[in-house]
Amino acid sequence: MVLSVSPGDKDDSSKLTILKIHSSKGQITTPMRTINRNDVSAKDAIGSNIHLAKTAKSFFYEVPLNVNDVINILNDAKNFDKFEKKIFDMMDRFSNSGVLFFLYFSLTNEAYADIILKDWIKLYVHRICDFTNEIGLECVILPTFNKIKTVAEVVQKHDLQFIPKINLKNDFSLVEKEMDEFEKFDCSNSPLLAINFCTYLDAKDQYKKIIKKFDDWHERNKAILTMGAERKLQSCDNVSGIHYPAVIYGDLIAEKFGRFFGDTDNKNKKKTKLLDNANNLRWFDRNGLQFSRIQEVDVDSFLESRKSGIYGNSATRGLLIRIATNQLTLDDIKNRRANALNRIDENDLSRPEFEVFQKHISNREVTFYKNSKKELNDVLKKHFSS
């Protein structure tokens, strides 16, 4: 089997364990950043030379499936062809970087419900496993369909590692039952549990259960990975946070802020006009792990401090100035350059911060690190005491 987890050192004060995830591509140490299609699209949109895989050693490729897609797949396995080329292309792009590639077929609510109601679970899992084998991946992330054992049995028949994905927003008793089942699985067959990201306030009991179970799972060579973690936390708390870092294979989470330029109006399927608020665009600030509004930043000094990075080029410098002065061109809006630059910028700035954070964990100084982030610490305290 391709993936295995082994616990490393533990920091006595913070009780955080460093996990080592071994794969055919090498070894990954938690906490670890992940990348997804949005990062790659942003890089393409800007033509940026930022090296995404330098610190993020895993890639989540999410393929959305609606009801029609599911029916097509169930009718004929050949209908995977429409996804295959894109998946191969993405795997190819990261094949040399030692990136662990996770493929996840994400079902719409209707498709998920249909699979359960029409009793398609086994056939669906069988089809996904066949395809996973065909493209040469050795582990498969699948939703549990509230029948985790059934899904696991089908996956094992295909000689694949099963990564059950549970929805933390589900009823606590259901989540608890699935976690208990996961715990019983052999670690060589099922080393990881995937959870969808949600804020602590949205799934308090579920997170408490996870926290309680960490040690047991680690001793059994199992780990957790978060999926769909937003870069910007939707909480109204005016601070970014790091979400249960060392134990969950996760990412930096930052504050969610308003709509960007050139967002698509979902109802009318057309580009909304340029919002009058560059005010809504915030910029990542590594020192406070917060965002500062772009207008509050002195653009000249900002560019001066970053000229060796992504703003070393007159094109990106010009774009930033246009954003700051509300002078985006139609080309900028059409190509969603402000969004893309923001994402790339966040990547560029938060990665060194993440490396500092990882280093503190390695040196067992994570408590010191947390205390150095006052606002972050306050928010975390508030969350845990609520």
């Binding site: 033509g47 940026s48 030379n49 895989a53 190819d92 990106t316």
Partner: protein, 151 residues
């Protein structure tokens, strides 16, 4: 014969082999653009002129195209046809032995070049063109993809 005429400069075939020695080159667009970026950003001083000129998809060099065919004839790379239009460039053992020997004559920061190649490979075709168009706008005058231009 080629060993004798090359002297102390790197040529197009060397640059192709340096890149394929790190990892395959995905297609012809990437062949042209990655060699161009390698030449401009890492090995300009140590290389002979590669005769790049503005063409339909930004900088293009017939020299590089010919060198790739020449290397295939010499058995130093394999050009694998993936589809009607996509050709993948893969180094052979002969090519690997040759370039490793040849690189000993030059000071080449292979770690930086490897990181750069991995980063370029993360692009799709469009992203690669955008990067080249952004950093080298002087090569975009004849482009068939003006929408990718920044200026």
């Amino acid at each position: 014969m080629q060993f004798q005429i090359k002297g102390n400069k790197l040529f197009g075939d060397d640059l192709i082999l340096i890149l394929t020695n790190i990892s395959d080159i995905r297609n012809t667009t990437f062949l042209q653009k990655e060699v161009f970026l390698l030449w401009k950003e890492y090995l300009y001083e140590q290389s002979a002129d590669l005769s790049y000129f503005p063409y339909h998809f930004g900088p293009y060099s017939y020299v590089i195209q010919r060198f790739s065919e020449y290397l295939e004839k010499l058995g130093m790379i394999k050009i694998k046809k993936m589809s009607k239009t996509v050709h993948r460039y893969i180094i052979t053992k002969k090519g690997r032995d040759y370039i490793q020997q040849r690189m000993k004559n030059f000071k080449i920061d292979m770690d930086s070049i490897k990181a750069a190649k991995d980063s370029w490979d993360e692009h799709g075709n469009t992203g690669m063109l955008r990067q080249v168009y952004k950093d080298y706008p002087q090569y975009t005058s004849l482009t068939k993809r003006p929408s990718l231009k920044w200026y």
